[in-house]
Amino acid sequence: MKLVWANVLAIYQRELQSYFITPWGYLIAGVFWLISGFFFSILYYNLAAQSILMGSDPNLPPVDYAYELIRTFLRVLGQVVLFILPILSMNLYTEERKRGTLELLATSPITNWAVALAKLSAVVTFFFTILLPIVTYQIFALSGASPAISLEPLLWGYFGLLLLASAILSLGMFISSLTDNTIVAAIVTFGLVLLLSLIDAISNSTTGIVTDIISHISLLKHYENLVQGVVDSSSIVAFVSYILLGIFLTAQSVEAFRFQRS
């Protein structure tokens, strides 16, 4: 057991390192920061203008603009990451297969699920790293807000974003384990992301028992709950289930791949 964790750690470190020593990781981070920064400044100036406009009218109820900005921005980030995540997950296994290093991992004393767990942890860590500057500049930008922003809903929101990303990356990892073509992996994962959005749209538009069920499996719905500050254990369970499902399917598909390979 000790060896298994040492192996998970070794693969985790190697994976994480590869994000920082290749231009690929910086490129993705740069694009993500650019897009999210663009949206943040738009939202920021819009809300600032709105607050000046509305603030002069004493008849309206007071609005916490800073909190509103945090929530809207998190929702936007939730959409932006849907485009970024397939690009992060597409290489997870396709590269290993192309380089033949999957054969090295598969013939080392290490189980498939440990490899999958290590890879997922590494890519989630990388995603967490690129979120950090965004959270930081947000706190800086809103530090002068009155009433002062409370960190708790902000952190719950980002925690939700991290869970959403982990779930999608986990499923994306499974998809990347099915093919040795990076582009195919990215496109299929993107299709899956669209399906998730569709599920979310259905759960928002109709009512009834089917919708109820769908809203329970909708990742974006659970994310919205966390953004709204509604911390529900069922949301956490849903995210964790998706993550575990992805790891499980990945381990199974790598195993099946070994059985079938001709």
Partner: protein, 337 residues
Amino acid sequence: MIEVEKLSKIYGSTAAIQDVSFAVEPGEIMGFLGPNGAGKTTTMRILAGYLPATTGTAKVGGFEVHTDSLKARQKIGYLPEIPPLYPEMTIEGFLAFVAKIKGVSAGDRPTRINYALEKCNLLDRRKTLIRKLSKGYRQRVGIAQAIVHDPPVIILDEPTVGLDPKQIIDVRKLIKGLAANHTVILSTHILPEASAICDRVTIIKSGKIVATNKPDNLMTDLQVNTSYDIEVDSNYDRVREILMGIPYLNTVTIANAKAFRDDRLRLLITSEGSHEIGCDISTALVANGIPPYEMRRIQASLEDVFLELTTEDISIIEEISEPVDQLHTESNGDEQE
């Protein structure tokens, strides 16, 4: 150290290997020889724990590769056909990674990495990115990753493919050197390589083992006919008449190769099995006043054995043996100059 029993791997309706059984003793170098697609890689992948066999068992260091897979894998260093490398890592970083996932303790790692670097002649390049290495170096890094955790069993799938002659000699030396402390299985389709490095050669054809023995014994075992190449100044019928009385003589034919001088006759004489009839031939010829200008025994090379075992169509052997004769002619031409 390695015991394989009745191993079969079936893909759909075709069998990649069928009832393969063999054993390798500790410290032995066993060579797997066979044409492409014979099942060498499949057998090695099963041993390395990458593929499961359809039926049969394979034990490495006492552990069955299917039921005790993780323990068996710890005993093995494996170099696949394509060396599994991460191009963005340095040689040293990569070996450290492999040492970690193979379970080398943190205290032993520096020594083990140095040992692998030294054995594979990579010490001066330890900080180089794998991406920047030439094919020969990559192959050596591939071998280094297979020995870095000091496994009792080393499996090398075509270790000398793509190397230049000097590198091939280095790698062969390296493999020979490993035999002292490791058991080695390697596959190759280069015959001189098998006879140069291996203690024992197993020839595999269409998924079945057709022969296994020491490289030297393999030839005598197979009772390949001994033949003689002679050059005389006479006519065919007369020589044939003289020679036909010799016991164990099989055939007398005019050789494909040209004689040293045009007015001479070059003949190919074969005996039954491994009977040596060279002495009788020369005595008979001299007694009849036709002393040979040249006489040479043609020994079956491992190549002939290999072709005999792995080629069904006899005409292919003939086609291939012709260029050999041409080579011979060319060497004659050299002498003339």
